[in-house]
Subunit: 119 residues, 2 copies
């Protein structure tokens, strides 16, 4: 039962758009990611996905508009809702989602990570 | 799909040892709590429980020792592991756990909250 220091974990990687698993519980995972630029449109058919912004500002684009999520803020994207994260400057984000969640849903692109690294 | 500001949510309540639900996803909940003093020994038979310390220092007592969890740190207490949170000064904590998680497990005390408030 380790104590996990979130900012220390962020210091262990620099690659963007590549979530790292820091904890597993109840079939869910806590992941950290650094992101900058535009991701791909995708949804997760069966999984709600929580984004908790720990540094920077994330624009979450939806088909019917955009939400700005700032440091210290959370958004939960419900299953089946298409979304596209956009970060003009690098954003550090904590994700909380089922372990089965695929990175880009049923969409597959050059950005898709199939096996999440654990740190 | 609201944007949830975590510190604004903490400003909405002062009562201690009374977790408030701020988000629901995948049968799990995100809760916030302010705690000070000693809680009761308990475990959760079927639920792992994540504690993310957002202010202060938490001592988590286990039957075989104690862990200190500081601001910005996480601990996951696995199902079935007895634990007793202790906060010498007020601690602000975010919890991730299944919606079915009972506050004090099968132990019932004056501190037990049966219906979590939503904020």
């Amino acid at each position: 039962m380790d104590v996990i220091n979130v900012m220390e974990k962020f210091s262990l990687f620099q690659d963007q758009w590549s979530p790292k698993v820091i904890a597993d519980l109840n079939g869910q995972q806590v992941k950290l990611a650094k992101i900058k630029g535009e991701f791909v449109w995708h949804d997760h058919k069966d999984e709600d996905e929580l984004f908790y912004i720990l540094k920077g500002k994330l624009k979450m684009q939806f088909r019917d508009g955009v939400k700005l999520i700032k440091e210290g803020e959370i958004i939960v994207v419900p299953k089946g809702v298409e979304h596209k994260p956009i970060a003009e400057e690098e954003v550090w984000v904590m994700l909380f989602e089922p372990a089965a969640t695929k990175h880009t849903g049923d969409v597959e692109t050059d950005m898709t990570v199939k096996n999440y690294e654990r740190i």
